[in-house]
């Protein structure tokens, strides 16, 4: 494996981590949005607040990691993607800004009226942000981002692969969030809420699973390079995601939420990895490969040092944060 591919793998680890942990935070917005009126939804919204409050900023940094690694290691492809995909990138960015700000504002809002305004903004932006990131993934995977010059501003991300990418992103975020929230609600002893979340998570999981596999059909036409990869090199990952998805549904149905978190993570991680492995060795599909796109070797080596330091410093700290937030005493 060349240096460039190792760095691309490190970059993609960041994409997966963002999809899983950042995704679970965004997904919580889906349940917040559909929680009902302020009295009926109060319990759920408080759970959402409590559940993602301590972790969302840390999880968000995976995105920064991805962006920085991308522009440092593969600078021209970064500039190319930002240029063609300016609209979905900006819409996702708008979602990020509104989500973060309104989430913090809602927590300390003085009145229910203010909290509702901030809450609506938080919930809607939580749902749209993964959608636009999904369309970005679809644009890259279907070869619509030219390496030089600018692709079409609209059709580059409004096309079958991008739309499926967006819907799958929203769905996987919601599945992850639902599973985590079920476990959190159970741990806090909120039985009624747990049951309500369980039903909705099951529905979302079944729909998302169906969409993921339905998407394989239009991909044949719309993103042939990716489709070939998914049927070849990435086929085992597709199989793992299917098994993980089914296992998640079964575990949630039988109320084993703690274990369901693991299978949900496996299912989503393998869907995202399937995309990455499926389009290998392309960085921008059909346009530029990972090796061609790579910047200076000295920079790639330095980035690996940074990634190694991240593994040493960040991961233990992150583990500590998760351990605390998932502990009994922090659930009250």
């Amino acid at each position: 494996m060349s240096l460039a591919v190792v760095v691309a793998a490190a970059l993609f680890v960041g994409v997966i981590a963002y999809a899983l942990f950042g995704g679970a935070d965004f997904g919580a917005g889906f349940y917040d949005l559909t929680a009902g009126g302020s009295a009926r939804g109060a319990e759920l919204r408080t759970l959402v607040d409590h559940s993602i409050g301590p972790v969302w900023e840390a999880n968000h940094v995976w995105l920064i990691y991805v962006l920085v690694t991308w522009w440092t290691a593969f600078p021209e492809s970064f500039a190319a993607a930002m240029s063609t995909l300016i609209l979905p990138m900006l819409l996702a960015l708008l979602g990020i800004v509104l989500r973060g700000a309104s989430f913090a504002f809602r927590k300390y809002a003085a009145t229910l009226g203010q909290a509702r305004v901030f809450g609506v903004v938080f919930a809607i932006s939580s749902v749209i942000t993964p959608f636009f990131f999904g369309t970005v993934a679809g644009a890259i995977a279907s070869g619509r981002v030219p390496a030089t010059g600018r692709g079409d501003l609209w059709t580059s991300w409004i096309n079958p692969t991008s739309i499926f990418g967006g819907v799958i992103a929203v769905g996987t975020c919601a599945v992850l969030a639902g599973t985590f929230l079920c476990a959190d609600a159970r741990r806090a002893g909120q039985d009624r809420l747990t049951e309500e979340l369980r039903r909705r998570t099951l529905a979302v999981a079944v729909v998302t699973g169906a969409v993921v596999f339905a998407a394989l059909v239009p991909l044949e036409q719309d993103a042939p390079t990716l489709a070939t990869g998914l049927q070849g090199r990435a086929a085992p990952l597709v199989a793992v995601s299917a098994i993980g998805g089914v296992a998640t549904v079964v575990l949630i149905a039988t109320r084993r939420f703690a274990t369901a978190r693991l299978t949900a993570v496996v299912a989503v991680a393998s869907v995202v990895s399937g995309w990455g492995v499926g389009q290998y060795p392309w960085l921008l599909v059909d346009e530029v490969t990972i090796t061609e796109a790579a910047g200076a070797p000295a920079t790639l080596r330095a980035l690996l040092v940074a990634a190694g330091l991240a593994a040493l410093l960040v991961l233990p700290a992150l583990g500590y944060l998760y351990k605390l937030t998932q502990s009994e005493s922090w659930s009250r």
Binding site: E57, A58, I96, A101, A104, L321
Partner: protein, 477 residues
């Protein structure tokens, strides 16, 4: 907030460049990209100051609370932590905006030099990661962790704030004095990213910004308590909150002129045109005067007060060495002079005023006179936060506008870095609207928090409780 003022200022900067650009056919994305960068960076930098400096102040307050078993200090630390949660959230998202903008606004810079300047950003990301993790632990750790262990959770935040500042500033210092690569036939080769991270100009520039962050956060927090005392809220907590924040701010304000001077004395070598603009030096004079105020009209300096020798003394540490005048540089290599000069002198003037105020306060206190009993001092102190912010923004305007027309000094002109996207004007409009809304939201929420604290509430409960709250749980934090 200061957004409109800043935008106006940067607009003023861009006008000459824009007019000049009509002849050179600047890319359509240049002017909106400049405004966008000025707005989003000028907004974010205020919050970044709190991200850098607030944790250390919270740590000090929390430590006092634990060591002296002081309930006022503990309560203040708890409140400051809640305020920091709001500020850090909008700081985190406005920082993300900047990450996107690097590629969206400056494709020429990122495409060409992305692999040269990227490494410091990677380390900054790392530092921010650790900061965000411990922020989560600290904020939610109140009453859930043993007090001493809980207090220790602030330390990583204070440290990573320093590291993060250094890394970001290293990139800016590199733009001022690029190193770590060779240009062979226009191609970037022999890239050494470590040389960028540890570039010789980074240290002093970092120190200048780091100290500025403590001034901004310290004076702003002190201002809040000064306003409270002016309105008659003279309890011990107000005095404690003021004194601790003002102490941090004072130390920084006194050190800052020295740091600024040491940083400035490098400019004669690294960026002589910027120095000429700072000093409003049209011709090379030996010795150079210090030119207070004044603007350049049709190539003539008007309305300035010149103090002989002082220009050479301050800028060059010498009675005779000249400040190289603007006439030494081709017209197309000169920065917009007036805005650079006025911004620079505003920064120096306000910074000096704040340093003097700090010295006066502590000397008076040492001699047994408490200026907190004097309304004139409280009135001044209640403005100190705004003044510190203005000084910092002026400093950024001075250094950024002073680097023009270069984005990478001597190598890449700003128009070369911009794209052809005239649609960026829409982005600028949308950004202004979103940031205005975010500012309004933050002001509303922070004021409501203060109001509820004044009325005696301690833990601010979730707005979704308790009327429809979990029945078994009782009162929620």
């Amino acid at each position: 907030m200061i957004d409109p003022a800043l935008t106006l200022l940067s607009l003023a900067d861009a006008v000459p460049a824009g007019v000049q650009g009509l002849a050179n056919a600047d890319p359509a994305g240049l002017l909106p990209a400049r405004q966008q960068m000025a707005l989003s960076l000028g907004w974010h930098i205020i919050l970044a100051c709190f991200g850098v400096a607030f944790p250390a102040m919270i740590f000090a307050m929390h430590l006092i609370g634990i060591r002296r078993n002081d309930p006022d200090a503990l309560l203040l630390a708890r409140k400051w932590a809640k305020v920091s949660a709001v500020l850090f959230a909008i700081g985190a998202v406005s920082g993300t905006v900047l990450s996107f903008e690097m590629g969206l606004l400056w494709p020429g810079l990122m495409g060409t030099y992305g692999d040269v300047l990227g490494l410091p950003f990677a380390f900054e990301g790392l530092a921010f990661f650790v900061e965000a993790i411990f922020l989560g632990i600290y904020l939610y750790g109140w009453d859930r962790m043993p007090p001493k262990q809980h207090l220790m959770m602030v330390l990583p935040m204070a440290i990573t704030g320093v590291v993060g500042t250094f890394c970001v500033i290293a990139v800016n210092a590199w733009m001022n004095a690029p190193v770590g690569f060779d240009l062979v036939d226009g191609e970037v080769t022999n890239v050494d990213p470590w040389a960028v991270l540890l570039n010789p100009d980074a240290f002093w520039q970092f120190l200048h910004m780091w100290v500025a962050a403590y001034m901004v956060a310290g004076f702003t927090i002190a201002s809040v308590y000064a306003v409270g005392m002016l309105r008659g809220r003279r309890d011990r907590a107000h005095r404690l909150g003021f004194t601790l924040a003002f102490a941090f701010a004072s130390g920084s304000a006194v050190v800052q002129p020295v740091v600024g001077h040491l940083l400035g004395s490098r400019i004669a070598e690294t960026q002589p045109a910027k120095l000429a603009a700072f000093e409003l030096a049209t011709e090379t004079e030996s010795p150079s005067p210090l030119r207070l105020g004044g603007i350049l009209v049709d190539g003539e300096v008007r309305w300035s007060i010149d103090i002989p020798y002082l220009g050479s003394l301050i800028a060059r540490n010498s009675f005779s060495k000249p400040v190289e005048g603007l006439a030494s540089f081709p017209v197309e290599d000169r920065p917009p002079v007036n805005i650079t000069h006025l911004a620079f002198q505003s920064m120096v003037g306000i910074g000096t005023l704040l340093a003097v105020a700090a010295v006066v306060f502590w000397v008076a206190r040492w001699r047994g006179r408490d200026l907190l009993e004097r309304r004139w001092f409280l009135r001044f102190a209640s403005l100190a936060g705004v003044l510190a912010i203005l000084a910092m923004e002026a400093g950024w305007i001075a250094t950024e506008v002073g680097r023009q027309p270069w984005i990478v000094y001597g190598l890449m002109r700003t128009p070369e870095a911009a794209g052809e996207n005239s649609g960026l004007w829409w982005l600028l409009g949308a950004t202004a609207a979103v940031y205005a809304a975010m500012t309004a939201g933050a002001v509303i929420v922070l004021r409501s928090m203060a109001r509820r604290w004044r009325s005696g509430e301690v833990d601010l409960p979730s707005p979704y409780g308790p009327q429809a709250q979990r029945p078994h749980e009782g009162v929620r934090r």
